[in-house]
Amino acid sequence: MDARLSFQADRHPADRGQNSLRAVPEPIVRLTNFTRAFGDNVIISDLDLEIGKGEFVVLLGRSGSGKTTLLRTLAGLDDATGQSVRIPGSRAVVFQDARLLPWKKVWRNVALGLRGLTGLVRDKAERALHEVGLGHRLDAWPLTLSGGEAQRVALARALVREPELLLLDEPFSALDALTRLKMHELTLALWQAHRPAVLMVTHDVDEAIALADRVLVLDQGRIVTQERITAPRGERSDVARGLRQRLLSALGSGAEHASVIPFRQSHEAFA
């Protein structure tokens, strides 16, 4: 309960949590006072965010917390004129559904939008597919791939562009647990090899702890808390327990189930 109070305190603009968001060396993403609303419905309000070069940031949030909206802005898919938004020119997105074009063979999906001679483009695409372990499915049709394979292709398609910013929109949430773990390893390996800055959106706390340099919790369009994880990946079981607790309570901070009558109260009412 104490933890929860302190996180709610974090939501005031002048607190330490917000300030520390700016303390990133060489930021390649910088949003200042970013607000996004559809009509009267404010999705994101007054959000400050910086992402450093090569940093792996995980954004946690419940459904409707505005995390997808934020990601779309960073992907340049939503118009952000009149706002202070700085994003790098080379970005790539991996969506929750792989969004491969079913009428293009796997390697052509990876090569989509790459410019240059067909032979060179194919070489590049092939190398990227080998890197994600799909060297044997270059000429497969996307609809014949399994969910995990499709996401690997989507990863290859993103990385072949050598992006400065890699955006992952709940990329593994539709996969089974074992495949998801394998994909975590792959993602980390690729990130270490290519060093893009990563912003990954998820609602899986364990996934966040396993992958991130920094975890942000988004709630009702604001960043309510952030945790920097310094322990090396794979040796995080010691910090994980406390971290998990804190992140979960931060996630729950806005979820006062107003419509649910607590059992004790109703009991008292009958007494």
């Binding site: 969506f95 969004r99 009428w103 293009k104 049709w141 609809l143 014949t144």
Partner: protein, 241 residues
């Protein structure tokens, strides 16, 4: 098969008079005679040419209109209402008007076929373009595709299955309209053969022509199926086979 045998027996025994319906054997004999004399192939070619030219014009027009109205807002506002109005007019009801405009030669026949085959292409391609998964478009857009690349790599291939459905409808409509259009004062073609045969009560010739119409329809369907198998290899049903 049993039906054919019954039909043959009934004809031979005189239960079905020759003037009502010719016996299958008579139909076959007539057919071979008509093929041998060149009467059937010649007239079939005339009819086929009508369908092909009518379709070529109609399909092209339908394609262009659907692209204009599917790919641009301004095009949609201009083209779509007109097409919806056109849809409510049964093509065959225009026959008298087309005769007044184009006379009784080949032109009104081809014009009718063309006019009738526009709409299935238009409607299917247009809705196909509109139904392309926005998530795919968005995904492709996030990789920096230009508008032209987006249309070429995403929208058109995505709309292709619908276009082929439209093509199939167009073909069958074209053949239907052909039958009616050929009743207009034709001096050659399958319709001319049928009209002539009617005047002489040659039911055998009429049945032969009906068979040819059926074969045309089947052939058209087969053609689209071949195109589909080539163009839609990526579909799971095609991939598996």
């Amino acid at each position: 098969m049993a039906l054919l045998v019954l039909w043959e027996i009934a004809s031979r025994s005189g239960t079905i008079p020759q003037r009502t319906l010719a016996a299958p054997s008579a139909v076959l004999t007539t057919m071979f005679q008509m093929i041998a004399s060149g009467e059937l192939p010649g007239n079939l070619a005339v009819s086929a040419l009508r369908v092909i030219s009518g379709l070529a014009i109609g399909v092209t027009a339908g394609l262009i209109l659907a692209l204009v109205s599917g790919l641009s807002r301004a095009g949609e506002v201009t083209v779509d209402p007109l097409m919806q109005i056109k849809r409510t007019i049964p093509t065959l009801a225009l026959t008298p008007l087309f005769i007044v405009w184009f006379g009784i030669g080949e032109t009104p026949k081809i014009a009718l076929i063309a006019f009738a085959s526009i709409f299935p292409i238009y409607l299917n391609l247009y809705s196909g373009i509109r139904a392309v998964d926005v998530r795919l478009i968005e995904g492709a857009r996030s990789f920096g595709l230009s508008r032209f690349e987006l249309i070429w790599h995403v929208i058109l291939p995505g709309a292709l299955p619908s276009l082929l459905v439209g093509l199939r409808y167009s073909l069958s409509v074209a053949i239907l309209v052909l039958v009616v259009a050929e009743q207009i004062n034709a001096s050659a073609g399958l319709g001319y053969l049928i009209n002539n045969a009617r005047d002489f009560m040659r039911t055998d010739i009429i049945v032969v022509c009906l068979m040819v119409y059926a074969v045309l329809g089947l052939g058209a369907d087969w053609l689209v199926r071949i195109i589909e198998q080539r163009a839609l290899v990526w579909r799971p049903s095609n991939v598996a086979s």
